[in-house]
């Protein structure tokens, strides 16, 4: 049996009901008003009975809560990161696809190279026809323009990706500061036991903003604050976060050249493209998902792969023409020496590191050279004796000479110098084998260095722990230690960890000597005057044969190493097409997953207006009932009064 209650008590209870319903209606109206706001979650005002002693004393509203399954929310954020990554990657790659033209037409690079082959084939019929000769040159110019254009656009897309990273990093920092502010508000409200639901919604919006840019994990602390970490656990935001700080740093590069590359630590100190750092620690490699991951992938992996393919193709194309006595292509305005022949009587045996040639015009230390019998081995000129026309050289990447003997009269072709980076060094005396480098250049064993102004090439054989870094060097020549003293602060060239042909496609042009003398496409660039054998098609025929033959390409282009020149071009285009299509397919599936998760989340947590309206009706009727109760109590009170009177 419950304790009897007074009319007054009943009135109070009814009043509490009215109050609770007002709060309920307030929540409904807010829910309905925010039904279409992204990130707004449906709020509920839970009711609780007021019990005094053992008697119910009415109803009261608890703190407004939101209906969110945190696990689902986290999953949604991850999915959002992946989706964004694929979306940005796909957008860049789709735009880059336009560089290869439409299937079936002949504007793409491979088709242009095919046109060059055809022009040479036509030249075999009429080698004396100036029109046919000019046609070879103009198709060659189309090829070089296509190379230049594609690589320029490639550089632009990489630059755009680089700029996009910068924007994304700004967004991340902004959002982190917002989260930091919200954290403070939430912890304050929570401490007072007030509702934090709306602030949580806002915070989740900011978390989503970060997740959109890069994959993160979050952890909500007991006091309601949320800490943010990168995918691999690097802290982005915790209790130590300073207001208005920018924890994530990135330096955009205004112009991304074909040689520009991001070097992961410790080589990142070489310069090159910026990585992403948090508190001075490079986390570039650890970023998973989000726009930044997509941009990085485009900037550092996918497009550089195509760049290396184009460079390799351009270099092979130029080299193959050179070895056929027609230097049709050159790199930029650099005048490359024509092919020469080894004049050492009897040739040079394996291990030899010097040859004599007929002419050293246009040759300089650092340039690469290839022998006819070893087309795939690159040697670098390390010294030139101008009196005897003797070149000393080493095999690229080693300190040794010829890997196989070369014959007398064997053809030598010369290539561009290997691009190198400059940094500083402390001095060293003649013969010294140990040097202290002025700054931490990230020296690694096996790295090859050259001091500016000196021709000798040294290999780093040991790196002592630094800083400052103490390295042991070994000259590539026969002597021991430094072959000439170097001054403190003298520049060092370092071979970067990229292949030496970087940027060839960007610079390749048609040899002006050939443009001005079209007969050279028939007679080659080794002769001085046009041949009287105007019908001689030996060179064009050899060149057509060269086009039909399988050539060997380096194995670091992600393409088959054996292909015809045209098919290597086709493969490069198909490679991009494949990456683009795969990205698109991944994006489609990521979008489906994201949409499905989002739908699930929204259905669970977002507002259904109809539900709210039906809630409103319930609240209305509950309110009406409470009001009627009060009316009834009033009547009862009135009647009681009348009875007393």
């Amino acid at each position: 049996m419950t304790t009897a209650t007074s009319l007054n008590g009943a009135l109070l209870i009814a009043a509490s009901g009215l109050q609770a319903n007002q709060v309920g209606l307030d929540v409904v109206s807010r829910n309905v008003a925010n039904a279409q706001v992204t990130g707004y979650t449906s709020k509920t005002a839970p009711l609780e009975s007021i019990v005094t002693g053992d008697a119910n004393a009415g109803v009261r509203t608890l703190a407004i809560t939101r209906n969110v399954t945190e696990a689902l929310l986290r999953q949604l954020q991850t999915s959002n990161s992946v989706n964004q990554q694929m979306s940005t990657q796909s957008a860049f790659l789709q735009s880059f696809q336009n560089n290869f033209g439409q299937p079936g037409n002949s504007t793409n690079l491979a088709a242009q190279i095919g046109n060059l082959q055809n022009a040479l084939s036509a030249l075999t019929v009429s080698p004396d026809d100036p029109t046919a000769q000019t046609q070879v040159i103009s198709t060659a110019q189309n090829v070089t323009q296509q190379f230049n254009l594609v690589t320029q656009n490639l550089g632009q897309v990489r630059q755009q990706a680089d700029a996009a990273i910068s924007t994304s990093v700004t967004n991340v920092n902004t959002a982190l500061n917002q989260i930091f502010t919200l954290n403070n508000q939430i912890t304050a409200l929570q401490a007072r036991g007030e509702s934090t639901a709306d602030l949580q919604d806002q915070r989740d919006n900011q978390v989503n903003a970060v997740a959109k840019e890069m994959g993160i994990t979050t952890a909500v602390q007991g006091n309601g604050a949320m800490y943010v970490y990168t995918g691999n656990g690097t802290t982005l935001l915790d209790s130590t976060f300073a207001a208005n700080s920018s924890p994530v740093t990135f330096t955009p590069t205004p112009v991304v050249g074909p040689n520009a590359a991001y070097y992961p630590p410790p080589s990142s100190t070489f310069g090159g493209l910026s990585g992403i750092s948090v508190g001075g620690v490079d986390i570039t490699g650890a970023i998973q998902g989000g726009n930044i991951a997509g941009d990085l992938n485009v900037r550092d992996n996918i497009l550089p792969a195509t760049q290396s393919q184009l460079d390799e193709l351009a270099a092979q194309l130029a080299t193959k023409f050179n070895t056929n006595d027609l230097q049709l292509f050159q790199r930029g305005n650099q005048i490359l020496p024509s092919a020469d022949t080894v004049t050492n009587v009897g040739g040079v045996a394996t291990g030899g590191n010097s040859i004599t040639v007929q002419s050293i015009t246009n040759l300089s230390v650092g340039m690469s050279l290839h022998f006819g019998s070893q087309p795939n081995t690159t040697y670098l000129i390390t010294g030139i004796n101008t009196g005897t026309n003797t070149l000393s050289f080493v095999q690229q990447g080693t300190t040794t000479g010829l890997t196989a003997g070369v014959a007398q009269d064997e053809k030598v072709t010369f290539g561009p110098a290997i691009p190198q980076i400059t940094t500083g060094a402390a001095g060293g005396a003649l013969g010294a084998t140990t040097l202290t480098l002025a700054d931490a250049i990230g020296a690694q064993t096996g790295m090859r260095i050259q001091f500016l102004g000196h021709s000798a090439i040294y290999t780093i054989t040991n790196v002592a722990a630094g800083p400052p870094q103490q390295v042991t060097i070994q000259p590539d020549g026969t002597g021991v230690g430094l072959q000439a003293p170097v001054a403190a602060g003298e520049g060092i060239r370092i071979l970067p960890p990229v292949i030496g042909l970087a940027g060839y496609a960007n610079n390749i042009t048609v040899n002006t000597n050939v443009i001005n003398n079209p007969w050279r496409v028939r007679d080659g660039t080794r002769v001085q005057t046009p041949s009287t054998l105007t019908g001689n098609n030996t060179l064009p025929t050899n060149l057509v044969t060269m086009f039909n033959a399988l050539q060997t390409f380096t194995n670091n282009t992600k393409l088959a190493t054996s292909a015809t020149l045209v098919n290597f071009g086709s493969s490069a285009i198909a490679y991009q097409a494949n990456v683009t299509a795969t990205t698109k397919a991944t994006l489609d599936s990521a979008t489906t997953i994201y949409n499905s998760l989002n739908r699930q989340f929204l259905d669970e947590s977002a507002v259904n207006v109809d539900t709210q309206l039906s809630n409103m009706i319930t609240i209305q009727s509950s309110y009406a009932a409470s009001a009627r109760t009060i009316t009834a109590i009033k009547q009862m009170m009135d009647e009681l009064e009348q009875a007393v009177r």
């Binding site: 080698p127 105007t534 019908g535 285009i573 259905d603 977002a606 109809d610």
Partner: protein, 692 residues
């Protein structure tokens, strides 16, 4: 039951709508462009195939264009060959008439000479036919007319005039040349005596005045010329251009260096001073030349220098083993006085009526009355007196003929030999009665009598010869011989060009027969014909050795008609077939009755008729070979056309959209989109708010 959020529903509907619109957009693009995709990523699975087929298509279309172009070049060549054959056949008929003409010869001669002169220049202009700017008969030299105007016998400076002058100047050894001798002299002059000027100003020999490509080591491909002259014996030269100098070990030749067109091996090159140091090519010839390793003869400034890598020089040796011959050995058995016949090694050496003596009996002269070649018995009697053998003769007694052409006196240019079949015109003999290194060339063989000429310098026997004189014969290479003995064939491969120092004609090495033997064919000819002129034996006169210079193969005009397939079609004007025809016509056009007997002219006409027949047959052979190539072109064209059709079909299936299916999909998607629109508009009204 799962709840449905309002924003979730609209977001979902929105994304679905966008999805359908994107599909619609793709389909609209496909239908309007006819292509499956505007980018290669849109046809990812076949993008590489599409690209490769596209490049195959481009290349194949290129080959088809090449074939069409080649056809337009070959057709005129065929036409010219046909006309040359017609001209040759007409002249042959007329020469046959002239060779047996009973009419007064002046009449036939003048007509035939006029006709032949016309024919010469007609053929010359036919051989200068060009398509566009390309001369068709100059080998790979396509920008200069390959043949000169031959002129006429009346124009002394023209080639025909120079040939006619051969009769007046009488370069022949005989005072009154026979028709045969004259005909041979004309051919020799045309093949070896003419000179022409190269584009670099150097003069080089050229058969028939041909200025087209003759290739290495004929010397048309000069790279640079000497800056200053050099004396005989010099071992270095300075050249006027520093570009592309030869390398040590290569061979060089000079544009004007008779008589051997010697090659010199480069021993050092100074790039800065443009000086080339060399040594006379190491061959047996050098040893024979004595101590000098330098230039054989002085060269003037601006002499063209030809790098003949991998050319090298070797000597030519005699054709087969040298054979010895002895004049008339004696009787083969002992015979007693009174017999009227004796046996001899070869009765065929004797003739009835011939008189002779026995070496042991100077008093009696005998005359041959009969001979039996199967028993090698000769019957004789004394003259006068008609008596049998007066004195016994021991076995081996020498017989000395007293009559016939034999003359053993010094200065004689005729001698009788025992085995005339062993001698050919051009052979070189030496006699045991002469001092060392005295040689005579055989200039005529008439029965058992041979005509000889001392080399060098001409003239007859140095010493009288006796019946015991031994003769050593160094055999020459007769025209038509196709195997030549050389010092060494190291470095020589089939296909290389070869030139012998006695002639200006280039040959191709058809095969290496043995380490010291090569098989040759005239340049541009197929198997079957050998040397075009007789080549004297090389040894053994110092400085007179014949050398063979080898050069790289000469490629004829050619065209790429398929991957790795190159069709060769050019016919140089100096091909053997055309030279044979021209040589015969030259003889007809230049032979002058004022210096030639009627009989001689008829010989010339007969030789010309025979050569015209041979030549026109060879031209026909060349034409039919070309016809086969035309057929190859036609067949290849058909095949490649079919291939392009296949390629296009395949490409279309990869790149082009199936219109019917695309349009039906488009319609379907449109319907889908419309349905979605309706759904959205009906959802708008489906809210509880509308019912409260």
């Amino acid at each position: 039951m799962t709840s449905v959020s309002t924003i979730g529903q609209s977001t979902f509907l929105n994304s679905q709508l966008l999805n359908i619109e994107s599909q619609l957009n793709d389909l609209t693009n496909q239908v309007s462009s006819g292509k499956k995709s505007a980018t290669f990523s849109g046809i990812n699975s076949v993008s590489q195939l599409s690209l490769q087929l596209n490049s195959s298509l481009t290349v194949t279309n290129g080959y088809l264009t090449n074939i069409s172009n080649a056809q337009t070049l070959i057709a005129p060549i065929q036409n010219v060959l046909q006309q040359i054959t017609d001209i040759a056949n007409q002249l042959r008929t007329d020469s046959l008439v002239a060779s047996s003409d009973a009419l007064p010869v002046t009449q036939g001669n003048a007509t035939l000479q006029a006709e032949a002169t016309d024919a010469l220049n007609q053929i010359s202009s036919l051989l200068n036919t060009r398509v566009g700017n390309t001369y068709l008969f100059g080998g790979r030299n396509t920008t200069t007319p390959p043949m000169p105007n031959f002129g006429s016998a009346a124009n002394a400076s023209s080639i025909a005039g120079q040939v006619a002058a051969l009769q007046g100047a009488n370069p022949l050894t005989t005072a009154t040349p026979s028709g045969d001798q004259l005909y041979n002299a004309i051919q020799n002059f045309l093949n070896n005596g003419l000179t022409r000027t190269t584009s670099t100003g150097a003069t080089v020999p050229s058969p028939f005045g041909y200025t087209g490509e003759t290739g290495e080591p004929g010397g048309s491909d000069f790279r640079f010329s000497t800056a200053a002259g050099a004396a005989a014996g010099a071992t270095s030269i300075t050249v006027s251009q520093g570009f592309d100098l030869p390398t040590v070990g290569q061979y060089i030749e000079f544009g004007t260096l008779p008589p051997t067109n010697a090659a010199y091996q480069v021993t050092a090159v100074n790039q800065a001073t443009r000086t080339i140091t060399f040594a006379r090519a190491t061959s047996p010839a050098v040893t024979a030349l004595g101590p000098s390793t330098g230039l054989d003869a002085a060269i003037p400034a601006n002499t063209s220098v030809n790098v003949t890598s991998p050319s090298w020089v070797t000597t030519v040796s005699a054709n087969g083993a040298n054979s010895a011959d002895t004049t008339f050995p004696g009787v083969t058995a002992a015979f007693g006085a009174g017999v009227s016949s004796v046996t001899v090694p070869k009765a065929g050496d004797y003739s009835v009526g011939e008189t002779f003596k026995f070496a042991n009996d100077a008093a009696n002269t005998y005359q041959v009355t009969g001979l039996n070649t199967s028993t090698n018995t000769i019957t004789f009697q004394t003259t006068p007196g008609a008596l049998p053998l007066q004195n016994p003769v021991p076995s081996g007694t020498q017989i000395t003929p007293l009559t016939g052409p034999f003359s053993g006196t010094a200065g004689s240019t005729q001698m009788v030999v025992q085995t005339p079949a062993n001698y050919k015109v051009g052979d070189r003999i030496s006699l045991s009665t002469d001092p060392a290194n005295t040689f005579y060339d055989v200039t005529a063989v008439n029965g058992d009598a041979i005509t000889i000429s001392q080399v060098p310098g001409g003239g007859g026997l140095v010493n009288p010869i006796t019946t015991a004189t031994a003769i050593t014969v160094n055999h020459s290479y007769q025209a038509g011989t196709n195997v030549v003995n050389v010092g060494s064939t190291t470095g020589v491969t089939a296909g290389m060009t070869v030139k012998f120092s006695n002639s200006n004609i280039n040959y191709t090495v058809a095969s290496i027969v043995s380490p010291t033997q090569i098989q040759v064919v005239p340049l541009g000819q197929s198997q079957g014909s050998g040397l075009e002129t007789t080549m004297p034996p090389s040894e053994p006169i110092p400085g007179q050795q014949i050398t063979a210079s080898f050069g790289t193969a000469i490629q004829p005009l050619s065209v790429q008609i398929d991957n790795g397939v190159s069709l060769q079609y050019g016919i140089p004007a100096d091909t053997h077939a055309i030279r044979t025809v021209l040589g015969a016509i030259f003889a007809l056009a230049t032979t002058n009755l004022n210096t030639t007997t009627q009989g001689g002219f008829r010989e010339v006409a007969a030789r010309a008729a025979a050569d015209l027949q041979t030549g026109s047959r060879e031209v026909s052979t060349v034409a039919s070979t070309l016809g086969v190539k035309q057929q190859t072109l036609d067949a290849t064209k058909t095949r490649l056309s079919d291939f392009t059709t296949t390629l296009q079909t395949q490409l279309s299936s990869l790149n082009d959209v199936d219109m019917a299916s695309a349009v039906s999909q488009l319609t379907e998607t449109q319907t889908q989109l419309e349905a979605s629109f309706k759904l959205i508009s009906s959802l708008k009204t489906m809210s509880l708010a509308n019912y409260l």
